[in-house]
């Protein structure tokens, strides 16, 4: 069962990263803004890595794949 905590964490991170992106872009450092967004994406991906791995295991088990 997917934890709702994770959904709220990802939502919170997304809001913070988007605000930071706007603030840094306004300060004239566009490349750092994109770096912050990329870092946010990487952090979210690490949070969901285990779930993605479980998902693939479930698909393999369901379809009896090797």
């Amino acid at each position: 069962m997917l934890s709702t905590d994770l959904i709220f964490k990802i939502a919170g991170l997304a809001i913070i990263v988007s605000v930071l992106h706007s603030v840094i872009k306004q300060a004239g450092k566009e490349e750092y803004a994109w770096l912050v967004t990329l870092t946010g994406i990487i952090v979210v991906l690490t949070l969901v890595t285990r779930l993605v791995s479980d998902f693939f295991q479930a698909v393999k088990a369901t379809f009896l794949l090797p």
Binding site: K9, G12, L13, V19, V23, A27
Partner: protein, 179 residues
């Protein structure tokens, strides 16, 4: 007495502390920028006072430096006072030597590299020409400080806001990831 609320309360307290730590870091960086701007303003004041002491009061250089330093205050004022105390016929040092000694003693720690370079350049020309030429060199230094202050004011406004937001939101990000 049930302690079921304790884990949630400690999580909340921990999150608040992490966000506060990020906020403090951001605000202190912004504060440092504002201190640097104030120091530039004090340096400008010190140079203006020095110019009026030399051109209107015709005060000898050591006394002019000390009075300018007293009126300006801050690290720049302290440096001017110290250079004034270390220079002159009684001390047998010229302004450049007095400045090197004063910088080695320590007030320069809170001065930016631009300010130290400006004062060094000015020191090379003080005490080596008539009062009109010295006033001209001081006015050139004042122009440099003014243009640097104007650039820095804009930079400071944008960067201070950025550092405050970065500090708070980075703390919030870390708190969310750790929760």
């Amino acid at each position: 007495m049930s302690l079921a609320w304790l884990p949630a309360a400690s999580k909340a307290l921990g999150s608040v502390m992490v966000v506060a730590a990020g906020g403090i870091a951001g605000f202190s960086l912004a504060g440092r920028l504002e201190t640097e701007l104030k120091e530039l303003q004090r340096l400008e004041t010190a140079l203006l006072c020095l110019s009026s002491e030399i051109s209107y009061s015709l005060t000898p250089l050591p006394g002019a430096l000390e009075r300018a330093g007293e009126r300006a205050g801050g690290a720049s004022g302290a440096l001017f006072e110290r250079v004034g105390a270390l220079t002159g016929l009684s001390q047998r040092r010229n302004v450049t030597q007095a400045l090197d000694l004063a910088l080695a003693e320590g007030p320069s720690r809170s001065l930016a590299p631009f300010e130290v370079d400006l004062v060094r350049d000015l020191a090379k020309n003080l005490g080596t020409s008539g009062h009109k030429e010295q006033v001209r060199y001081i006015e050139m230094s004042i122009d440099r400080v003014r243009s640097r202050r104007r650039e820095f004011e804009d930079e400071c406004r944008k960067k201070a806001k950025l550092y405050r937001y970065l500090g708070l939101f980075s703390g919030a990000c870390i708190a969310i990831v750790l929760l």
